[in-house]
Symmetry: C2
Subunit: 339 residues, 2 copies
């Protein structure tokens, strides 16, 4: 592993995006979100995605500087046309608008279409929780997951993010409804390592430990039929609300060929406006009860968000360990434009 400081990584990634035509503001926001992935230990959403973004910028599939168009459908529901902007830029602007609106309306919802990949959901629900509001974030993605009983990828890895403020650190849930990312399956295939059963099925729908066979099948939902049902419900919920694509028609978060056709939904609920501020210390106490609910001092019980928070603090202090090829890839993208 190469150790790279977060500030250095942000700087290099920002500079690459700027050289590819992104505005300084857009490049800074997108770089910040990619580096957040690596800071939290979620490298699949980190700077290894930079090359796809560069390819999409070059192909005109990510357009910088135009800015999203906001249109309030009702007092509490915001329609956002991302106009092919960077996902994080469009998402941040949508969240700014709904957290402001929720201060008076109690609740506000943003439905986002025509925006690029937003990466992890945690930073967005943290943004909402940071204003003292409850946040929910949903997004669709390319079909990689099979229906329960099926063999073909028909459903996105559709993650769910929930942020709840407390009197201390917020609870931050950010989980995919897939058992594992396709990136991990591909890593195992490249290294000829067997897959744990339950991660994926082969082309006939049978659970497989053969990573190569899995690439011809599909990733499994987490938690069996329940995870399938949840992922499918989120697919349909998000697509309906955003007027975006469904199933195999979702494209553009992994490739450099297609317009991005997924949708994002953000919800903000103002604890203050709803008269519920007194609940925040109770939630904090409860989460501490959960953390302390095992008498064995060797067992650590985390609540959602704890582990990412620890990893992030550690990496801000000691630097981010990156696989050498990932760091080399980032530097190569920088060199390519500096010549």
């Amino acid at each position: 592993m190469v150790i790279v400081e977060a500030s250095r990584l942000r700087e290099v990634v920002t500079s690459v995006l700027e050289c590819e035509g992104a505005t300084t503001d857009d490049a800074t926001t997108q770089a910040e979100l990619l580096v957040e992935g690596d800071l939290r230990g979620h490298h699949s959403h980190g700077v290894r995605r930079l090359s796809v973004l560069v390819g999409r910028l070059r192909n005109g599939l990510v357009r910088s500087g135009e800015g999203p168009v906001h249109r309030w459908r009702t007092d509490a529901v915001l329609d956002v046309d991302g106009r092919s902007g960077f996902g994080p830029v469009v998402a941040r602007s949508a969240i700014d608008a709904i957290t402001e609106r929720a201060r008076t309306a109690g609740v506000a919802v943003a439905t986002v279409r025509n925006a690029n990949h937003i990466g992890m959901l945690a930073p967005y629900v943290e943004q909402i929780a940071g204003t003292g509001q409850i946040g929910i974030a949903l997004t669709t993605s390319e079909a990689l997951v099979h229906p329960w009983g099926g063999a073909r990828p028909m459903i996105g890895t559709n993650p769910i993010g929930i942020g709840v403020p407390t009197s201390g650190s917020p609870l931050v849930l950010d989980m995919s409804t897939a058992a594992v990312s396709m990136g991990k399956v591909l890593d195992h295939a490249a290294q000829a390592r067997p897959l744990p059963l339950g991660w994926a099925v082969d082309g006939s729908g049978a659970p497989t430990a053969d990573a190569q066979a899995a690439t011809r099948g599909a990733v499994s939902p987490f938690g069996g039929p329940k995870g399938y049902a949840l992922g499918l419900a989120l697919e349909v919920l998000v697509a309906t609300l955003t007027g975006s694509a469904l199933g195999t028609r979702v494209r553009g978060t992994l490739d450099i060929e297609y317009e991005c056709t997924k949708g994002d939904v953000f919800v903000a609920l103002s604890v203050e406006r709803l008269g519920l501020v007194h609940m925040l210390p109770a939630v904090d106490r409860y989460l501490d009860e959960v953390r302390g609910s095992d008498s064995d001092p060797h067992i650590r019980i985390d609540v959602p968000g704890d582990r990412a928070r620890r990893t992030r603090a550690d990496r801000l202090r000691s630097g981010i360990p990156l696989p050498p090829d990932v760091w080399a890839g980032v530097l190569a993208l920088k060199e390519a434009r500096s010549v």
Copy 2:
């Protein structure tokens, strides 16, 4: 099994509740919801719960006829004080109010406290979807589930319900975040049958096949650490929004001793008001693609709601198979008051 017609079962249950002091309207609504559990094959939420309701009526913990108090916190967020009413009665009234409001506001949210157990979530999201709106239903329950890594029950079985209208039948998700109901664990214990590993842990936190040992431990979340994280996030989300209890302080859905301290949240989003009616046929087509995504004609792929819909139609036609002791229990409650 004893075969009982749904109409007969509704009539007997309504009559028991009326004899125990419920108004005809309240008794009819509560009976309808209990029988829906049995009609859909979810007996744990069916008429076997009648004796607890009777006990709660007798102890003054369910109060009929007073009606919930609705107070709009904002234009789109309704606070509902259930005043110890029947869960389904309070929930139905909350949903009537938010689906009416969502017609103009696009979105409306009800937060419900001081109401009794609402049973399955499916009928509520179906009620919302039946108005052409997207529905979400969340509720907390007694702590039965252990944190990931822990051994003690600290989290409710916190289910999630999502209903999305289509141009045909709605998608209806209704799933608990527990691997299994405590009722099933108790059934296995009574019959001295081993539990599948993954359902529960013993008092030391180790996965166990011993149902007796599981009753001294806790039910496991579905899907491992992800299901744990989701269930805990829903616990905190619902409690904060409704100002209700958390963890082991949630009571009154299984016992006949305590006021009910859980909370319910309902969300309605009007597809029509948000200009998204054109999406409904696309969703219908996509769900049919998912159902037909396996080439093997012997494999049936369901989408959420399909199986319950089939079971319900079958039982409306042919009657509901009830365990003899459950039917005898219902009749005994009827006899007890007729004497």
